[in-house]
């Protein structure tokens, strides 16, 4: 990973110096272990603050919506797929972007690591596939694969799908990954079991909307949750309203979600809401063999139709 950040810095500096772009969006060092802060570099000087490591799980495409400047953007696999979706949905123009692609070997899950050590963490470093966690009176090493974010463990698009230049060599994609094991397990439940499962899954929800606001797909000026004429969803903490919010938000991501995990990473109470979006991702891939954000010249599944589309559900 370390070579990558030098390449990113050097590219960013060149782009800004040659006025190819007005700003470069990337990450800068966070103030907590395992945290980085999305950052906009406006001058060559700012670029020195940029970092790249296994804590860059927030999807930077989220910061592109409706921007007018020329932007250099650092993009790992899922970010690049969301940039493709953004361009297809006219939220940003391809010519505005200079994409610095970063082949990714997965981002680590700070919630998972904190739960495994259960004591305060002072520093987390990474060295050749191992994650070293130093904290109050302990020093532990994990295999990186053990502590990956759930989505990164199942990722099959680690290399960026769209880029102007690369900040590192392409990595080998993960093979024969079963992305939908958990989803089939839920589908196999009886209705009551499933109801109980979702009750437990969504009960801690605070309605803070971090999942919606961290998601690059959610850019509606007025979300259906904030609409009062008509009022679709109650504002209280009733389970019916929380379910309505989560299920309807997931439906809005059907055929668009790239499973970048920003929603799960942002949730302050640790809800695995990707169980909802991946069901719709599974349907899209099984029914329409569609994977979102892979190429600029294919319209998204719910935006077009083909004559040979399966219609077994139409009687």
């Amino acid at each position: 990973m370390s070579g990558t950040i030098d390449k990113i810095k050097e590219t960013a500096e060149r782009l800004l110096k040659d006025c190819k772009v007005d700003v470069v969006i990337g990450f800068r060092k966070g103030t907590l272990p395992m945290m980085n802060e999305p950052f906009m570099a406006r001058s060559a000087g700012d670029v020195q603050n940029m970092v790249w490591d296994s804590n860059c799980g927030i999807n930077l495409a989220n910061y592109l919506t409706n921007r007018k400047e020329r932007i250099g953007i650092v993009a790992k696999g899922c970010d690049s797929r969301n940039i493709v979706t953004h361009i297809l949905e006219n939220k940003i123009k391809r010519e505005q972007l200079h994409i610095i692609g970063v082949p990714c070997t997965g981002m680590i899950d700070r919630h998972k690591i904190s739960e495994m050590v259960e004591r305060e963490i002072f520093e987390v470093t990474e060295a050749d596939g191992k994650i070293i966690v130093k904290g109050a009176g302990f020093d532990k090493t994990f295999e990186k694969t053990e502590v990956l974010q759930n989505n990164c463990a199942l990722c099959v698009h680690r290399n960026p799908v769209l880029y102007d230049e690369l900040a590192g060599d392409l990595v080998e994609e993960q093979k024969d990954v079963d992305r939908y094991e958990e989803i089939r397990a839920i589908a196999a439940m009886t209705t009551d079991e499933r109801k109980k499962f979702f009750e437990e899954l969504l009960s801690p929800c605070l309605r803070c909307y971090a999942c919606r606001n961290a998601c690059p797909l959610c850019y509606c000026p007025t979300c259906f949750v904030d609409e009062s004429k008509p009022q679709w969803v109650g504002k209280g903490n009733d389970a019916a309203d929380i379910w309505t919010f989560h299920f309807l938000r997931a439906y809005h991501c059907a055929g668009r979600c790239t499973d970048c995990g920003s929603c799960e990473r942002s949730c302050p109470v640790g809800i695995n809401m990707r169980l909802l979006t991946r069901k719709l991702e599974m349907d899209c891939s099984e029914l329409f063999s569609w994977e979102s954000g892979l190429s600029l010249d294919q319209r998204p599944a719910l935006d077009t139709f083909k004559l040979d589309d399966p219609n077994l559900f139409i009687k």
Binding site: R28, G30, T31, L32, M35, N36, E37, P38, F39, M40, A41, R42, S43, G45, D46, N49, I58, N62, Y63, S114, E115, E118, E120, F122, A136, L206, R207, C208, Y209, A210, R212, N213, A214, D226, G234, K235, G236, N237, D238, S262, R265, S266, P268, V269, G270
Partner: protein, 354 residues
């Protein structure tokens, strides 16, 4: 007031006695994160956590709270008229909260208990709640209470302060409410007050030495508000913000709320829910005009309110107790400690301040 020595052996039995007259609440470890929960029979608080994920504010000021009920049914005598609720908050006690959360209630009380208007819901719940704090012995890296007006053994806002001495607790009552609480328990063994005081001081200063995080607020009071408001660093501070409500919901000193009516068939409730200045809807006018329509304005508002407007309005320090929850919960790591440094010296903040 008599200081009580609670032998750990008698801890559980004392709690059971208290459960007869108080609803007891305390931290419970729910899949790796601590939350305040009601302690049922034979349940004791789990005091091994550093601090709870959600602050204790939800115990006095629930996220969703009924204010009135009403009926729209025409043949009801008082249809369409708002009826206050007749249920009053039960006597309850929170055991094992941290001193910073208790201090937070005092900061929030200034908003709900004003000379002109008194909020009955908040005040009645607050007065029915006894706050039993556990002094911090090893604060974490994001705790900056000592420079935010509180401290690991601060007694501000607490009714009783406990100090863990391995095989017994020192229980020092601070208010009459605290003394009444201790007398309702079965813990009767008294302890030398000055010895207890010495232990508390020692434990407090030992913990204070372990604190590694500080903020500086000395200039905030005298700076002209608009000078900080117009400082150049707000664009940089707010860029990463995704405007979710996490920081305001986990914060013990945030109090903003929204009022909503919800009707089902003919009956309904006027309720209030936590709201957040981070949401665009918070300031949206009916005409569509939004005085804080941009993200930078909303992020600036949150920090200006906590570290400047509150200081000017009540002339009594910042609206923050340094618990660090917003720092730990923010998905994009916006850090109030960094922003406070910028606000404390707006003049030398360059545009892309690091």
């Amino acid at each position: 007031m008599k200081v009580i020595k609670i032998d750990k052996g008698k801890w559980e039995s004392g709690l059971e006695a208290l459960k007869k007259s108080y609803t007891l609440l305390g931290p419970k470890n729910l899949n790796h994160s601590f939350e305040f929960k009601e302690l049922k029979a034979n349940e004791a608080p789990d005091l091994t956590g550093l601090n709870t994920r959600m602050s204790a504010k939800g115990l006095v000021y629930p996220q969703s709270q009924a204010m009135f009920t009403y009926t729209l049914d025409q043949n009801d005598a008082d249809h369409h008229i708002m009826k206050p609720l007749d249920k009053k908050p039960s006597k309850r006690a929170v055991i094992g909260m941290r001193p910073c959360d208790a201090d937070a209630f005092l900061l929030v009380k200034r908003n709900f208990d004003t000379p002109e208007y008194k909020d009955p819901y908040w005040i009645e719940a607050y007065e029915a709640t006894v706050l039993i704090g556990l002094a911090c012995t090893d604060p974490c890296g994001t705790c900056f209470c000592t420079t935010a007006g509180s401290g690991p053994a601060s007694e501000k806002g607490l009714d009783v302060i406990l100090l863990d001495k391995k095989d017994y607790f020192i229980a020092k009552p601070i208010t009459a409410k605290g003394e009444a609480f201790l007398s309702a328990s079965s813990w009767t063994e008294e302890m030398n007050a000055s010895q207890a005081e010495k232990d508390l001081q020692e434990a407090g200063s030992a913990a204070e030495k372990k604190i590694t995080s500080f903020i500086h607020t000395e200039n905030l009071r005298d700076k002209v508000s608009m000078e900080i408001y117009n400082a150049p660093f707000w664009e940089d501070v707010s860029f990463s913000c995704i405007n979710c409500g996490t920081c305001t919901f986990v914060c013990p000193t945030c109090w903003c709320f929204d009022i909503q009516d919800e009707t089902h068939k003919n009956k309904g409730v006027r309720m209030r829910n936590w709201d957040s200045c981070m949401f665009p809807l918070f300031t949206l006018h009916g005409s569509g005009h939004n005085p804080r329509g941009e993200k930078v304005q909303r992020v600036r508002q949150r920090f200006m309110h906590k570290l400047k407007y509150y200081v000017d309005k009540y002339e009594n320090g910042i609206q923050c107790v340094g618990c660090g929850r917003c720092v730990r919960s923010c998905p994009v790591n916006i850090d109030i400690r960094r922003v406070c440094e910028l606000m404390n010296h707006p003049e030398n903040a360059t545009c892309a301040a690091q």
